[in-house]
């Protein structure tokens, strides 16, 4: 036994010098005297300490190097009374004698007034919730707003250092996809231990090793004691005049079972549909490479500009939202997201609109009184298997969206009634499978199938504009029927070769898009007889687009640079025909749409990125139908042009800077795009109707955007401040009443905000936005309009005596428009809350819109059109609410 041990020992002795190399040297001061007790650390290129030692009495030090192949190593020596010395390690066989320069010992007193701290680890940044949350904060969404670097938009969309998050994970699991508002609004902040920002998030485990992702995701780390029970709350509120608000939610975040289920309803202007709004919907569509047919008909109602929804919405709405996930194994999960939204909205406004054209001003006045009743049933069933060897993801979605609207309209003193009925059924399945082969190469199979039916009916009574529609004779009405059934499939197989940070992906596939537009526009005479409005008021258009494509993607990644070049080549074949309109066309195009992306890490916490993209796009079925469609009571649309073709060059660059220690975040971004189009929509405007026909004409749309955003936590003031400036410029052409006018629109926006813990019992937040918009027709004596808008919001949250919380908030909106009177609004709200700790119940009394403002005047500006409107908004509302937590 002993002998074996000895042998082993000798072996080790023999091997160890090979395994662990050492760096040796001596530390001296400027006079050449050895310095003892100096901390000597070996660090890697990212500044991580690999090992450390202390110099001996004679100044000698020895430090071991575990991985001799590592490059970029350096030695750091530091001792009190000396300046830090850094020496690059070039060769392990060399000795590194370090000479320290003496310096003044400066030790400043540090007072601890606060504890908020961020911890970083590689790509992950941790915010401890308790460091940022205020006593009054209920949900994690409230606390997120106080975290520097994180921004929560009014829609609930979260971004980190200027970039929208791709996912909100709950304890590492993606329960909600991009419909994460329900999580931020329901999960109590006290249940969240940490909020993690994950940069370069790669949810697919088998791709994590060679991760090329530049997505940012947020992860909510749930406290251990909150993991094993069902959490939830129930809110019941009643108020005047005839107001209610209710909410019951239950959630659980177990290892195997996670759910967030909730039922809510109100008529106080809160849109429960926000909870199920897909916040990254455009990214989703881009991934599918699918264009879904737009619904074409509407009542032509205008939204309320500049006012937040909870001040302007007159509603009665309810939502059932069920999100459940079960994990069979740590790698296999099934998830179901089902929601049903019932919404009734009423909307009343009168507006006056003017469009300025050289030598002519088209104007109309309009009153609308609308009742809208959209409903949404959305279901998704998702199966996901995610291991280091393979990945399977299948999502089946069924969405049913029926909607009814009734609208009373008075246009230029002519009264009419519109009734709109829409019913969309959208069924899709997305399948994605990846497998890692023995050679570390991967294969990927993908399939997407989608079927949509979308019938729409618009009825306008009585018949408007008889001069152009019925030879000047009064008539009973117009009936527009429209159906756009669509089918789409996209399938591909891809093969990825990965070697030393260099990966190549080759992809081949095809997609088929089949769409129809069937429409008829009837007019009903006063005697009840029906006839087509005109011979061209029908469409029976069939469209098929077939695309075969192949794509090579080349990605490279090392410590500093991540670069990818995608070269997709596609063959597009489009056939569309409408026998009634004697239309039968086909088109073939070969497109190369290259994209280049480069990211360069300039430091541990700084990064630069740059991208270039060239895209060829072809218009869709909505650009080629020939028959007239009545899109709302005053708009007739048709096309008379070849298929639109758009070629877009776009470039963008950005710089991201972070100093997590100092809690400083900065992002700078710029982008420019130039799209050239071969068609333009020609608008014929009269006081009563607008008619649009797409015409062949080559034109450009050029967009420039610049933005700078910064966020910082001020330790001394216990405040998070953020500032931002953005500038955008668009240059485009408009063809109106046969006059082609080049326009330029410039918008500059400045914003600033503070979230401050003034004292232990007072929290103050302030946000201000100033935007300046300028529209100019670039011709001699062209129209020019300017619009300035100020918006300020402030909230004061005070903890008065024990468990009594007072909230005061105000919002100021100021608009100045050239040649118009100034508009000035001040909204104020107040709210008192009493917390019964033992009963886990909050009692709340609140009044919104204290000044009882019932109409809101607004100015809306676009190119050469100016709209001034007066909107009915909910007046003062008083509510009593009871909230119970369990």
């Amino acid at each position: 036994m002993k002998r074996v041990f000895l042998l082993y020992w000798f072996l080790l002795m023999g091997i160890s010098p090979v395994l662990a190399q050492q760096i040796k040297g001596k530390v001296r001061d400027a006079a050449g005297k050895p310095v003892e007790s100096v901390s000597v650390s070996l660090k890697d290129k990212d500044g991580n300490t690999l090992s450390f030692t202390r110099s001996a009495e004679n100044g000698d030090y020895t430090i071991s190097v575990k991985d001799p192949n590592q490059t970029g190593l350096r030695i750091e020596a530091s001792s009190l009374g000396y300046r830090k010395k850094v020496e690059e390690v070039t060769s392990l066989s060399k000795t590194y004698d370090l000479v320290l320069e003496s310096s003044q010992i400066e030790l400043d007193a540090v007072t601890v007034k606060h504890r908020p701290t961020l911890t970083t680890n590689g790509d992950t940044l941790n915010y401890r919730t308790s460091d940022f949350a205020d006593k009054q904060d209920r949900t994690i969404g409230d606390a997120l707003k106080r975290m520097p670097g994180i921004e929560v938009a009014e829609s609930g969309k979260i971004s980190y250092n200027g970039k929208s998050i791709s996912n909100l994970y709950i304890d590492g699991d993606n329960l909600l996809d991009d419909k994460y508002n329900v999580a931020t609004k329901s999960i109590p902040q006290g249940a969240v231990d940490k909020v993690q920002v994950i940069q370069n998030d790669q949810p697919v485990k088998m791709l994590q090793k060679n991760n090329m992702s530049d997505d940012v995701a947020l992860n909510l780390v749930i406290k251990d004691d909150a993991k094993f029970k069902v959490m939830g709350d129930a809110i019941a509120g009643a108020g005047t005049p005839e107001k209610f608000d209710g909410n019951v939610s239950a959630m659980m975040f177990n290892k195997n079972l996670k759910f967030v289920n909730n039922i809510k309803g109100n008529n106080i202007g809160i849109d429960p549909g926000m909870d199920v709004a897909a916040l990254n919907f455009s990214d989703y569509l881009r991934r599918l490479e699918a264009t879904k047919p737009n619904s074409l008909l509407s009542t032509g109602a205008a939204g309320v500009p500049t006012l937040p929804q909870n001040r302007s919405l007159l509603n009665r709405a309810g939502l059932v939202n069920l999100n459940n996930m079960y994990k069979f194994t740590p790698d296999l999960q099934l998830k179901a997201n089902v929601s049903y939204l019932y919404d009734e909205r009423s909307q009343r406004y009168n507006k006056f609109s003017e469009t300025y054209l050289p030598g002519q001003t088209v104007s109309y006045s309009e009153v609308q009184n609308n009742n809208l009743n959209p409903q949404k049933l959305q279901t998704q069933l998702n199966l996901n298997e995610n291991t280091t060897q393979h990945y399977l993801n299948n999502s089946l979605r069924v969405d049913y969206l029926p909607s009814r609207s009734g609208s009373e309209v008075v246009i230029n003193n002519n009264r009419a009634y519109q009734s709109l009925k829409q019913e969309t059924l959208d069924i899709s399945n997305e399948f994605n499978y990846r497998k890692k082969l023995k050679s570390e190469n991967t294969i990927n199979l993908y399939s997407f199938l989608n079927k949509i039916s979308q019938p729409e009916t618009l009825v306008v009574t009585p018949g408007l504009n008889p001069d152009i529609t019925n030879n000047g004779q009064p008539y009973a009405g117009l009936n527009q029927f429209l159906e756009q059934p669509a089918f789409f499939t996209n399938n591909y197989a891809a093969f990825a070769l990965v070697k030393n940070g260099f990966s190549q992906v080759y992809k081949g596939g095809f997609s088929i898009q089949q769409q129809h537009i069937e429409s008829e526009l009837y007019k009903t005479q006063n005697d009840g007889s029906n006839a087509l409005l005109s011979a061209d008021a029908v469409n029976n258009l069939s469209w098929q687009k077939t695309r075969f494509y192949t794509e090579g993607t080349y990605e490279f990644k090392n410590d500093k640079v991540t670069a990818s070049l995608a070269l997709p080549l596609s063959y597009n074949l489009i056939n569309y025909s409408d026998p009634g309109a004697a239309l039968d066309k086909s088109l073939q195009r070969l497109f190369l749409n290259p994209a280049l992306n480069v990211r360069y890490k300039t430091g541990i916490e700084t990064e630069m990125n740059m991208n270039y993209l060239f895209r060829n796009e072809l218009g869709g079925v909505n650009d080629v139908y020939r028959g007239v469609i009545l899109r709302n009571y005053r708009s007739f649309f048709a096309n008379n042009s070849p298929l639109s073709e758009i070629k877009t060059h776009s470039v963008g660059a950005g710089y991201n800077f972070r100093k997590a220690m100092q809690m400083l975040f900065l992002s700078i971004g710029g982008s420019y795009s130039d799209a050239s189009l071969n068609t333009i929509s020609s608008m014929l405007l009269t006081d009563n109707v607008q008619q649009s026909i797409a015409m062949p004409l080559s034109n450009h749309i050029r967009n420039l955007g610049l933005n700078v955003n910064a966020s910082k936590y001020l330790f001394d003031l216990r405040s998070t401040i953020n500032v931002g400036v953005s500038y955008s410029q668009s240059r485009y052409d408009q063809l109106q009443n046969n006059q082609l006018l080049p326009f330029v629109t410039r918008v500059t926006t400045y914003k600033a905000g503070v979230e401050s813990k003034v004292t232990n019992f007072i929290n103050w937040s302030y946000n201000a936005t100033y935007s300046f918009m300028n529209n100019e027709a670039r011709v001699i004596n062209g129209v020019e309009t300017n619009n300035h808008q100020w918006r300020q919001q402030s909230t004061l949250a005070i903890t008065t005596v024990k468990n009594v919380y007072l909230n005061l908030s105000g919002e100021h909106i100021f608009t100045r428009q050239s040649k118009q009177p100034d508009l000035n609004y001040l909204f104020a709200d107040a709210n008192v809350r009493y917390r019964l700790l033992k009963m886990k119940t909050d009692l709340e009394f609140g009044i919104t819109n204290l000044a009882n403002i019932k109409t809101f005047d607004a100015i809306n500006l676009s190119a050469n059109a100016l709209t001034t409107g007066s909107y009915v908004i909910p007046g003062r509302i008083g509510m009593i609410k009871m909230r119970f937590n369990f």
């Binding site: 009495e57 530091s78 009190l80 540090v110 680890n121 220690m661």
Partner: protein, 313 residues
């Protein structure tokens, strides 16, 4: 009684302090110490404000609460001596509101790699321990504590998994308690169960001001030296072992404590006699919790079922 005298005498003979070079105190680091001593009562951990006085080489870790209390006591004594106007000094120290506090000071000398604890039982007794060699693993996590950049290090030590945050920009090698040996001052440390925590509570510069003297001169001219009242550093702002301290071993010190607990008054008389002081010493307990037999510096024993050191190493 005899027994006590004997032990006292034996210890006195050994009264040769360690010859550690004094070191200039540069920084005071304060920690909020909390310790779940009784696992059946996790909600109310033992808490105390601690302070680390550190120089380039030497450091002293002691109770900040006790230092504050000493200053108050010193003031009381000075007041009473003044009022007694040279007559027989009857000194009463008001101990109401006082609570149990850490009575042990810990000295660490980086260069000599020595770790010495000082305990006061009327005399200062020094016990040298082997300096714990902690096998720290440095992680990549970084965090800022009130603007001080720190890096995370972890180690298994005395039966607990410790997490320490040290400041590479403050190249001291010291830290709270027995935690040291990192390439930077330990700003905060806790075990993974958060049962023992040394939470950062700020730093202060060590001003070169004279600390209150340990001796008090009464109006009559008697010079009284009061043991157990010290400011941790000398009036010159140096960290050094008390010159009058008695070197001993942990075993012997335990014996002495045992003797004290058996016969507190006899023990006290013996100790005072050894210092050349005679008189009638009485210790009156105060408050319902204070045991009448408790000697100064011997707090009523709380329930401890979860010591800081769970294992030898």
């Amino acid at each position: 009684m005899k027994h006590c005298l004997l032990i006292g005498a034996v210890l006195l003979i050994q009264s040769i302090a360690f010859a550690q070079a004094p070191d200039k105190a540069l920084l005071r680091v304060r920690y909020s110490f909390s310790h779940v001593r009784d696992t059946t009562n996790r909600g109310q951990p033992y808490t105390e404000n601690m302070v680390l006085i550190t120089g380039k080489n030497a450091s002293l870790y002691t109770s900040h609460d006790r230092l504050t209390q000493s200053i108050n006591q010193m003031k009381q004594i000075q007041e009473q001596l003044k009022n007694s106007a040279g007559g027989p000094a009857q000194i009463r120290i008001d101990r109401t509101g006082m609570r149990a506090m850490t009575q042990i000071d810990q000295y660490f000398f980086a260069k000599e790699n020595k770790f010495i604890t000082k305990e006061n039982l009327f005399n200062n007794y020094l016990v040298e321990e082997t300096n714990p060699q902690i096998n720290w693993k440095i992680a990549n996590d970084t965090m800022s504590f009130s603007g001080i950049n720190c890096q995370k290090a972890t180690a298994q030590f005395k039966g607990r998994n410790w997490i320490a945050w040290f400041a590479p920009d403050l190249p001291f090698q010291s830290g709270p308690w027995k935690l040291n040996g990192l390439p930077g001052l330990i700003i905060e440390a806790y075990d993974d169960k958060k049962e023992v925590q040394f939470l950062f509570a700020g730093t202060e510069k060590v001003e070169a001001q004279a600390a209150p003297a340990e001796t008090v001169t009464s109006v009559g001219g008697t010079v009284l030296k009061l043991p157990g009242l010290d400011m941790g550093i000398t009036s010159e702002g140096e960290i050094k072992l008390p010159a009058d301290a008695i070197k001993t071993t942990a075993k012997e010190l335990d014996k002495l404590k045992e003797a004290r607990d058996k016969d507190p008054q006899g023990f006290m008389r013996a100790q005072m006699a050894a210092r050349g002081m005679t008189g009638n010493f009485q210790i009156r307990g105060s408050g319902p919790g204070g045991a009448p037999g408790g000697a100064p510096g011997a707090p009523a024993a709380p329930v401890v079922n979860n010591p800081i050191e769970l294992a030898g190493n």
